[in-house]
């Protein structure tokens, strides 16, 4: 299993969760809340039909939307309460999946984050999520 090189303009994201390290690497470009993220679909990300597994997309969504929540809160401890995902089209090995996560609303204890995930400019997957800041009522 070879590790893909960062796509042009991207650098490797530092991951700390064992599951994210297991399915990664993930790449990013830009700074702070304007960051874009990407991963390259590898052979171990696809199902038996050769299409990108929905679980990998949802994991990438959890990772990137969670990173956006961290950026917005100064790395406050938080958990995913809810995630809604929609699969618009398939991706295949070699495709680069990209997203720029967005914070839709930031309340005192709840944060809403979403993202459109695209391959070569076409949206293939959408995710919207609700996060709870721990210790905030």
């Amino acid at each position: 299993m070879t590790t893909p090189a960062p796509p042009p303009g991207y650098r490797q994201t530092r991951l700390i969760d064992p599951f994210e390290i297991h399915v990664g690497p993930v790449f990013e470009k830009g700074e702070g809340q304007a960051r874009h993220y990407a991963f390259r679909v590898q052979a171990h990300h696809v199902n038996l039909g050769g299409r990108l597994h929905g679980g990998m997309l949802m994991t990438f969504a959890d990772l990137t939307l969670g990173q956006a929540v961290w950026d917005a809160t100064g790395n406050a401890p938080c958990v995913t309460l809810n995630m809604q995902t929609q699969f618009l089209n398939a991706a295949r090995e070699g495709d680069l999946v990209e997203v720029q996560p967005a914070i839709t609303r930031q309340g005192r204890s709840l944060i809403f984050a979403r993202g459109d995930f695209s391959v070569a400019g076409e949206v293939i997957f959408m995710a919207s999520s609700v996060w709870k800041l721990l210790g905030q009522n």
């Binding site: 599951f19 696809v46 199902n47 679980g55 809604q84 699969f87």
Partner: protein, 141 residues
């Protein structure tokens, strides 16, 4: 065919595997309940499934839902090609290292090309996740 490790629920059998399923698995199928209305699957939470806070990663739980609900759609319809259209997941409580995490999946309705499902993930009778989803199947010829 791999053997089932000790400690799995009675009747566990290795689920068909390959690609991403094999990379993040193994997964097991458990005997149906309620006369086939509830299809069950499980995996054992390993270090590779965790987040840095010591809980099973949400991405792993959603991946397991996708595996269990896709497999249930296939078992309910015999469809060979199917795809996840939408999945909504509520994270009710955390899963822990070493726990057997079980999926219980029901088909709510099946139309000619769409299957509606609901599922919950359970560990030691605690609900970790509730979910609903839509799967697309090819129209019968």
């Amino acid at each position: 065919m791999t053997e089932c490790p000790a400690g799995l629920p009675e009747g566990a059998e290795p689920a068909p595997s390959g690609g991403f399923n094999q990379f993040i698995g193994p997964f097991y199928r458990l005997p149906d309940q309620e006369g086939g209305a509830v299809r069950r699957f499980c995996f054992v939470a390993e270090e590779k499934h965790m987040n840095a806070a010591g809980s099973v990663h949400g991405g792993m739980l959603m991946s397991f839902l996708d595996v269990a609900m896709s497999r249930s759609t296939r078992l309910a319809t015999d469809a060979q090609r199917l795809s996840t259209v939408a999945l909504t997941t509520d994270f009710v409580g955390p899963g822990r290292l070493g726990e057997v995490i079980e999926a219980r999946v029901r088909v709510t309705r099946r139309t000619r090309t769409i299957v509606f499902l609901s599922a919950e993930l359970v560990a030691a009778e605690r609900i970790l996740v509730t979910a609903t989803g839509l799967w697309k199947i090819p129209a019968a010829p």
